[in-house]
Subunit: 261 residues, 2 copies
Amino acid sequence: MCQLLGMNCNTPTDITFSFEGFSQRGGKTDHHGDGWGIAFFEDNCARLFLDHRPAVDSAMANFIKQYPLRSLNVIAHIRKATKGDISLRNCHPFQRELWGQTWVFAHNGNLENFEPDLDGSYLPIGETDSERAFCLIMQVLRQTFGACIKKSRPSIGEIVKTIEPLIRSISTYGTFNMLLSNGEAMYCFCATELHSIVRQHPFDTAHLSDCDMSLDFSTVTGENDRVALIATRPLTDNEIWQKHRCGEFRVFVSGQTLLSR
Amino acid sequence: MCQLLGMNCNTPTDITFSFEGFSQRGGKTDHHGDGWGIAFFEDNCARLFLDHRPAVDSAMANFIKQYPLRSLNVIAHIRKATKGDISLRNCHPFQRELWGQTWVFAHNGNLENFEPDLDGSYLPIGETDSERAFCLIMQVLRQTFGACIKKSRPSIGEIVKTIEPLIRSISTYGTFNMLLSNGEAMYCFCATELHSIVRQHPFDTAHLSDCDMSLDFSTVTGENDRVALIATRPLTDNEIWQKHRCGEFRVFVSGQTLLSR
């Protein structure tokens, strides 16, 4: 199994504090030492950093912790390999382009006997069940709305109508906690375990669960900032994280829940 | 205009020495200060680092210079913006997936009135003429060989038959020096300016043109290593680089020229 971290905000925000705690689970406070990755959206494209080394020892992860990239949407993942060997091509998050936007996806869990009929619109580069699921989601979005609609992309509501039933059907093959974003919204599905918190004014000090580090957010935020963090397990030990229900599909936009069901 | 750097080898090789010299042109020894990027292939996938800051001041470029990623195929680019603003989505190299492989592309030059008929298989994320050209190349490869052929991908010869005439037709719209790779071969087209060198046994010391730095390759290579470097302009001042002919299409595999015409 793996662990997920997502961030969705109304103002470009630096995730280094949360990533510091999260990356400890990549070999130190937890056993997810088979690679990691993090994607930072900038408008409709993303910077994606991947490494097949444990996050806790990775020179690249250390660099990112010190490099405050501000983003409205971030997806990070640390991997405990179950399907597919330990290599770059099997590291999450995965990315593909659709409608002139980068889409990014990460998965926690295992799918059994999941061999969807992929038409070649998107094919997996690695061997994970996760990337197959992502390719299927992208393929169905393309089939449903057409390929060449850069100027009239579907709304978030229309996307939800298509992907929610699909994600629920994929989740019947096993455990399918997942995060998906195109830089406009963060689509989350909780099969078994996902937590979130929305930080907003008045901001307070948070203390990481995985290492002894605190940050007073009131010193680094503006009054109108709103930041939703989504993680497999809470990242801080002095804040109240909301546990998502098993089977809950939730969409975050601008740092708040747009819909949940 | 921009500058290109490519590497194609028969054994995974560290490009930090060449990248050190190349990145000086991103704002110091030359004026290509509008972003940069570098893609390192690992099998059929690639790590891609992009930044819209000048390469010479970029913390990420400094990190990469100290982080010896070994790869068989590398494509790097430094940008002098002509079409599209200075932002991440307009930084080269660009990447897309086809047949379960990552394809990476970078371009030096300008295309005028180049508005290909893209069917949505691949759409540009940014606004550059370069990314439009890349999307067209990928679309034509997909149309020609089919989308879902992960297990029987076309040979390098078959790929060349499809892309060479296409690239020549794109180059009629302006200046189209380019590098393209899927991790198996490096496809190069020289419209106006491209140089290359093949380093092999007996290895010697090379001195960079853009900063006072030398490396004795005999200390870091094996007898059978072979490394082709391709660059807009020679990177070293004590080696003989071969100037590609204007209109020359050349393919490198395993550190040597497979075909040139």
